[in-house]
């Protein structure tokens, strides 16, 4: 079973395969790693130089805010949002 990943529109020009993707993994980190295999440019946009999720990027697993260690279940949905920072 694969996980659905939904990306924000701003990243449309950074990915080759569209904003709704399928990926695999049992944690959020593993899901993202599997996505980065097909979309290597995405890593730079979601993670900072330290390997952490960028400060103003929010990632939800099944509508709950997640970190890289968050477990991901088969059929889960991962959603990437940009934080509302400022006006």
């Amino acid at each position: 079973m694969s996980v659905t990943v939904r990306l924000p529109r701003l990243l449309d020009q950074a990915v080759a395969g569209g904003l709704r993707r399928q990926a695999n993994g049992e944690t959020l980190a593993a899901v993202l790693d599997s996505l980065f295999v097909d979309e290597p440019r995405l890593k730079n946009h979601l993670l900072d130089e330290s390997g952490r999720i960028r400060p103003h990027v929010l990632i939800f697993v099944d509508a709950t805010r997640a970190d890289l260690e968050t477990p991901v279940l088969p059929d889960s949905e991962v959603q990437v949002l940009q934080a509302v920072s400022g006006g």
């Binding site: 529109r9 701003l10 990243l11 020009q13 950074a14 290597p40 440019r41 730079n44 946009h45 979601l46 900072d48 130089e49 330290s50 390997g51 960028r54 103003h56 990027v57 940009q82 934080a83 920072s85």
Partner: protein, 344 residues
Amino acid sequence: MMRIAVGTEKGAYLLTESGSSWQVEGPLFPGWKVTAFGQTSNGTHLAAVGSNWFGVGIHQSENLIDWKPSESPPSWPAGSDRKMEQIWTFHNLGDRLLAGVAQAGLFSSDDDGMTWYPVEGLNEHPTRGAWHPGAGGLCTHRILDGAGTTWVAISAVGVFRSDDDGATWVPKNDGVPSVDTVEGGKRPEIGYCVHGLAHDPENPNRIWRQDHRGVFRTRDGGDNWERIEDGLPAGFGFVMWRDRESGRLLTVPLESDENRVPVDGRLRAYASDDDGGSWSVAGTGWSDAPQFTGVLRRAFDGDDKGGFCFGTTGGKLWLTRDLGRVWQELHPSFPRIAAVRIVA
């Protein structure tokens, strides 16, 4: 037919001259800051983009309309405390492509921007621990080269020169006040907020400098700088441009670092035809209406054929076709303009 690429806080626009008007295409990269334009050695166009959320990227195009993201923009090593905040400038150095970035650094590419490696001699300079940002960030924003020497401008650090192909770099700011010392105080090795540089390609040791602390020139590659502000309404600003054929210099003064708008709202370029010895308002065509707007350090370009264009923080473009004798304000309005490049 002139074409101008305009990078703004929200996307890029391409202006193409069409009779007496301008056709506008865009926004390209909607939602992204477009911070620099460049070209590879084989003519492929480059656009640097950035986002407050998603970091930086570089896109490549053959026709300025269809763009593809490049695989790997410059980045600091994994685990680094430094952040890749913005790509400020591209520069062609022989077959190499250089990129100046924030947080301040210089990166080089031998494959037209597909992959990048850091220029360690500058990025790990012994003074790095004392580098501090200005209002625009800690940024490497201008690169010059000539006769085997390379200069970079870093805010608010200063001008560095390398005479050994980038292996080692020496700060070159004698004669320029630093941003954090008072007159008579001990002169620091770094801490100089250079805003703009232009040089004479035929004699690259002649360089003109728009600095946070005034306008300066050097005749010896930066060993000594002297102040040149005769005729200017203010020493502050970001623009410094030199036409290759005539030697005419252009700058756009702003009131001060506290108030980064033209003095009394009189937006004007100033020209010098004597290597900066004296300055006067460049030409005609300026608006009599107050223009309380600024011009950022990468928001101008010239084509060495008489064309020179600058964009404002208010989103307007001003253009001259005759090296500043006559100016026109172009009618489109854009978001805050960060980068301008005359592409044809």
